[in-house]
Subunit: 209 residues, 3 copies
């Protein structure tokens, strides 16, 4: 179902592209050379899907069997390398696209996990992992603590979007009713959290340990 | 055999719980928000088993097919988040529980690897990886050099416990004779190493390079 | 084909050995104890192959089914631990051996990926990942930004060697014509880049973001 929908394919490639852009921008800031930019763009764009496919035993990952999945992060990496000052000024737009990618990946990740026989709870978790995995790989490789751990809301919207997709899919609804509200739920929550500077609860009391 | 034993299941869940506690405490110290605490608790509790299952091709990992495996680290993460000052004062106890988790994971990891057709030497190594993997994932994600590399004895007891389990299993002994001495060997060695401050040999000579 | 060739087996073990040496040297510099040296040597020598095997679904990885693959990094780790001042003085030679390992792994990795049904482009990429993966694992575990991202040419020669192997294999040439020029292309390019201090292009303009 996921693999057969041209709409979902296009949206997934868009998600890979914007995630790869964010990876390329981090590489530029770290003063990596062109190959470092390409590798980090690729790892960010494809990392979440790789992680998901390895865990649900859908290997080799789609990205290795379909050249379009490889071309997209290369294009994003080259774009970052060439136009990074302009992209830097567009950081706000990139962040919003990143939220769109997060929304899309959490939904497609959850649906792919269901297709491979996982139960509802693990499938929702896999959706979240697909969404946040690319950014975690990016930050690990670049020597930063993953942004998902810092105080901006990131993983919760992804889990919410994935949960919607799982519930709607289990109810047997049409694909657009499964995917669209899930994407929008995650995207909207994430963007609102950024705009309004919402924060998840922090540990109370003194950091005694 | 491993999967059929209710005793081993309970002990494995206990191991996941105490590892997840240690991950949650690290997250609290790093001032992550609640979701960061949950993600790091989950990655620490389940990381070693995921690594093992992906390498021995037992995918999807048990933790994704059985909701109890997911519930346990969530409970540990919430407990850490809520009670972390008390847990911090209990650090000694947590460290001892962590040694118990290490002992258990090295044994169940080795037995699961044998069940999946690995030879004795790789199975013992997989047992060690299962034991030390969760802590390595925790430290990588938190931006620390993995504790297994520092001077306290950590990996050696895990390898010893796993080796015992492999040898006893190959000899065809009863499960409790396979598991219990292996767990105790690893646990006892690790606790003694901490109490007596034993250290593994360090590279001799000047750190010339 | 790859698995059947005794020449390739020997060369692959040599590659594992020299990569493991480089991992052991990093561990010594970081003042890890003997077990840290062994773990980091093993992760560096076997990491690239593990990553490849997990992604192309060739699990359990060869290294877990064949004790020679495990013995080699242990020997390299012990050698590093015992002789590290001498090895430190031999750093230039080790770096050149590392380039040889890179050349070999990119070729054998690409051929193994083709054997497992990947298309030409993903297979070449897998060859590159096999070559650069061990060093990335080493640097992540040791808390360094992976050397592949810094300004020395590293990933490009690996991709070039892998690409040669894929093209020659698709053309149906004899194994030595597939492997040897690929290894030499990567090795020679990497060594020349080091000797002449070639650098890949850096992002232009101010690092504005």
């Amino acid at each position: 179902m996921v693999d057969d929908s041209p709409l979902l394919l296009v949206l997934e490639l868009v998600g890979i592209f914007v995630f790869a852009l964010s990876g390329g921008l981090v590489a530029v800031r770290k003063q990596f050379d062109i190959f470092g930019v390409l590798v980090l763009a690729g790892a960010t764009g494809l990392g979440g899907g790789f992680l998901r496919d390895v865990l649900i035993d859908a290997t080799p990952p789609t990205a290795l069997a379909d050249w379009r999945y490889l071309l997209v992060p290369v294009a994003a990496g080259l774009a970052t390398f060439s136009f990074h000052p302009a992209l830097g000024r567009m950081e706000r737009q990139v962040t919003i696209l990143d939220a769109a990618g997060l929304g899309l990946f959490c939904v497609t990740g959850a649906l792919k996990a269901l297709d491979h026989g996982l139960g509802p709870v693990p499938a929702a978790l896999m959706g979240m992992v697909t969404g946040i995995g690319g950014g975690m790989v990016r930050d690990l490789l670049a020597g930063r603590v993953p942004v998902v751990f810092s105080s901006e809301l990131y993983a919760t919207p992804a889990l919410a979007g994935a949960t919607w997709a799982v519930i709607a899919h289990q109810a047997g609804w049409a694909l657009w009713l499964v995917a669209l509200p899930g994407v929008l739920l995650c995207f909207g929550w994430r963007v609102l959290a950024m705009v309004r500077n919402w924060r998840a609860p922090m540990p109370g009391g003194p950091a005694s340990v």
